[in-house]
Symmetry: C2
Subunit: 244 residues, 2 copies
Amino acid sequence: MDNLLTRKLEIFAPLPDADRRLLDHTVRMARLVDGRADLIREGDDPLHVRLILEGFACRYKLLPDGRRQIMAFLVPGDFCDLHIFILRTMDHNIGTLSPCRVVDIPRTRILEMTERPALARALWWCSLVDEATLREWLVNIGARSAEQRIAHLLCELLMRLETVGLASNGSYDLPITQAEIADTMALSTIHVNRVLQRLRAENLITFKNGALVIPDVPRLKAFSGFNPNYLHLTERNGSKEPRR
Amino acid sequence: MDNLLTRKLEIFAPLPDADRRLLDHTVRMARLVDGRADLIREGDDPLHVRLILEGFACRYKLLPDGRRQIMAFLVPGDFCDLHIFILRTMDHNIGTLSPCRVVDIPRTRILEMTERPALARALWWCSLVDEATLREWLVNIGARSAEQRIAHLLCELLMRLETVGLASNGSYDLPITQAEIADTMALSTIHVNRVLQRLRAENLITFKNGALVIPDVPRLKAFSGFNPNYLHLTERNGSKEPRR
DNA sequence: CGTAAAATTGATCTGTCTCAACGTGGGTGG
DNA sequence: CCACCCACGTTGAGACAGATCAATTTTACG
């Protein structure tokens, strides 16, 4: 069975066996982290790159008045800080939402990876998809109603978790509180509560013992205006070199 | 005198003379584009990478109901679509705001550039700063008041334009309409108008024959909660290889 | 000059926030 | 094993930032 990192990177393109073996080796040394713990703080100059293997984490910034804005969800298979090779100093925080299993990948290992063309391109793909996701989140917060906004987030998480085998039949574990959804969607906790109630009343979502269930996925996607193109899950590039 | 692209890329690190010559050559063939014209549309598979040399452009997405959300401003020195090497299909549109001078850089030229270590890192830096800017915009739209939001945008543009020599003494040309600011900041045009009036009444900004003037830059930065760390303008990396 | 785009003004409406409670379930210590 | 407790979810009422609708004025420009 493929490890989670291999599975994630092969969404973009198949990898040579040697690369897959390197990834197997990379993923071996994981550690456990509590829920609600900071992995990296703004101002840090991290020495290695973190990868989430289990659990949910997030990127966030704190404002002077103590509010926080969550800018990204990190789910298993996601890198926390690939950019530290270029941008030494973190301009935001990364914290866990639930308890997580995390690997610390040494810089030398990442350099080794970037020397292999297929892996280098797969890492680049990760970084560009993160950026595309950020653009979609900006649209989400800027232009959609609270109901659509939250529905859109739930659709995105469904697709992302499906690609790493953590969701199926429109259902997945969502170990986060309404307050955390509020910090993500730029809404008050109270409003998130009311919106979730309405989504449940419309039977767009339900909760079955802790897990989110989306009874009719196409309906929720249509309701939220979800278009998965920004996740770039289908543009496989099997060649060893960029086209042309 | 350095060309604009060299100037922009050397914000990150000095470039070897050979690289600078390559950039001089790259920037030679520019073309003019009208204001309010699309450079690239969602769904396109662009053949070359576009670079803005003069004028303002933006990334945007259109919603089913016709509204648009602008997700980034592109100013002289900014690349439109470096990511097409990996993500073939555009997931958003790029359009000019004012008349622009644009270079179309062939894919082969970009490949040539990425084979030179200093240039490759400079291009990576551009892409990561774009991503960091997107995160800050998410905070801006999600967590700040309309007044702070617009003030923050004006502070960011001041800094970005200063780095390419297009702003000085807290003043720069801002060839965009209030409706465009509204599409950017997720506000109505009318509210943007009122907010700008209030900012002028507070003497936080003024307009002198078409140009924006910020009489007291530190005051506007403080007012908007502007922290330039996300632009990563000061972490120069002069070495030929990544540290460690 | 005439015209269209942009900026401005006023009045009203509404989605979301804030404040202030209250309910509830799972974990812990006595 | 029960009682307490704290985090989380829920409810109601009132306030407000910003949207919407409908004109009117100003500006840029052919």
